[in-house]
């Protein structure tokens, strides 16, 4: 399973666009927002938590269809499905690789972009913490969506339609954490909820995703 993780990471790095694309997209979304709402820093700092979380979510969405599609095309997904390791483990590792290539860089880049949106200084650590806790759930839920649509020719748009409603709870608690952090309020409750969603998603969704892949490979 570690070998699979390393293989996916290597593929993502060497094929290009793995790390860079999602990050660049995140940067562009954040840069576009001030053009849309005006450069007033009070407005920007009020909406910054939400924009940063929505931006991270969309950037995450962008690379979801790659999780299984490429492996499905060249047939290695069939090999993985018949390999001696459980398919659930394969799915979890694929989601982990997706997180390392998108969620982790997004988390690390978020403070810099928070500065662009004049986020409250008190909120920066909460931003990083909430993204670090929440993005694994985004990757795992996304892997489930990708597993559902893996056999489809034009699955991309359908994938976003399926996955975005599933992202709602994560987004609510994530953005709420940052917003509360910015106002200096207690953030323990949304953070705990966020962690609960991530843990439950990582624990349960591999089974659903593996079931979907088995159906698709039938």
């Amino acid at each position: 399973m570690i070998a699979l993780l390393l293989r996916d990471l290597t593929l993502a790095i060497r094929a290009g666009g793995g790390f860079g694309l999602a990050l660049t997209f995140f940067l562009i979304v954040v840069v576009l927002v001030p053009f849309g709402v005006g450069p007033d820093s009070t407005i920007l700092s009020a909406i910054a938590p939400g924009i940063l979380w929505v931006g991270a979510l969309l950037a995450c969405l962008l690379s979801l269809d790659r999780i299984f599609a490429l492996d499905h095309e060249d047939g290695s997904l069939d090999l993985l499905a018949t390999a001696p390791i459980p398919l659930e483990g394969v799915v979890a590792m694929k989601a982990a690789a997706h997180w390392v290539t998108t969620g982790l860089p997004l988390t690390l880049a978020a403070p810099g972009l928070g500065m662009l949106l004049s986020l409250e200084p008190a909120a920066f650590r909460w931003l990083v913490l909430s993204l670090a806790l929440g993005t694994p759930a985004l990757s795992m839920i996304g892997a489930f969506g990708a597993a559902l649509t893996v056999g489809l020719k034009r699955g991309g748009l359908l994938l976003s339609l399926l996955v975005l409603p599933l992202y709602v709870p994560t987004l609510i608690f994530g953005a709420e954490t940052v917003a509360r952090g910015a106002d200096g309020m207690a953030t323990a409750t949304p953070l705990m909820m966020l962690a609960a969603i991530t843990l439950a998603a990582v624990a349960l969704l591999p089974f659903a995703a593996a079931a979907a892949i088995r159906i698709n490979l039938r």
Partner: protein, 242 residues
């Protein structure tokens, strides 16, 4: 005699064919009685004026919007466990009806909200979770449409329905956390002191029964259509073989 006998499409077609005229009649009767009673024979409510009458469409459709998803969940589980095709087709048939009910609830709510709250839309937890439910229905139906192999489509949508149910429930409580409500609480619970006044209660129950019957009837009709469509496909495939 058990419920599972209706998993046989022929048997299902025969029984539902006999039941349908009765169901249509009962649906029409309860809807006409409930709506006419509610619209014309109840007094105008204090603070609400005549807008209170929207309740006779708003509440039953909201009720059925949620129950339709529950029915889809049960039908999906039956399909996954016992592989009865009628069950999968019934889940597929229920989705557009549930979507329509959600839309009716949202639209009548908006029409009601304008005179009462001064706005068509507010990001209230109940309203928001209904909008999310609407998106879930859209995703579910889109997945059915996108997959060509009918058995794979039934399997995948069942998995989506189960995972979606968990997330829909989660979203319901997450939005509670996220914003305070403008929508009033439940006024029809059996265990509360403060309930809706009796004059409104009875016609409302009748319309709720009517909407429930309407849902059952429409699901039966649409399931029959799906079964016929599947038979036609099988016949065409057989023609080609010859």
């Amino acid at each position: 005699m058990s419920l599972w006998e209706y998993a046989n499409p022929t048997r299902f077609m025969r029984t539902s064919g006999v039941l349908l005229p009765w169901l249509w009649g009962l649906t029409g009767l309860s809807l006409v009685v409930g709506l006419v009673w509610g619209f014309f024979l109840t007094p105008e409510a204090e603070n609400f004026g005549s807008t209170v009458k929207i309740i006779y469409v708003h509440v039953p459709s909201a009720l059925m919007a949620i129950n339709a998803w529950l029915m889809m969940l049960v039908a999906s589980l039956i399909w996954l466990v016992r592989r009865h095709h009628v069950s999968a087709l019934a889940a597929r048939a229920a989705a557009p009806i549930g979507l329509t009910m959600t839309l009716i609830a949202l639209v009548t709510g908006a029409i009601w909200g304008e005179p009462m709250w001064g706005t068509y839309w507010a990001w209230d937890p109940r309203l928001t979770s209904f909008l999310i439910l609407f998106l879930f229905y859209l995703g579910y139906m889109a997945l059915w449409e996108a997959i060509e192999n009918p058995d794979a489509a039934a399997d995948l949508t069942s998995v989506l329905c189960m995972v979606g149910s968990v997330f829909a429930l989660l979203s319901r409580y997450a939005v509670n956390f996220w914003n305070q409500g403008l929508h009033q609480g439940a006024t029809m619970s059996l265990d509360k002191e403060e309930n809706i006044a009796n004059v409104y209660w009875l016609p409302l129950v009748i319309t709720m029964v009517g909407f429930g019957l309407l849902f059952v009837t429409l699901v039966l009709v649409r399931t029959r259509t799906e079964i016929r469509a599947r038979r036609i496909k099988a016949l065409i495939a057989r023609e080609r073989m010859v």
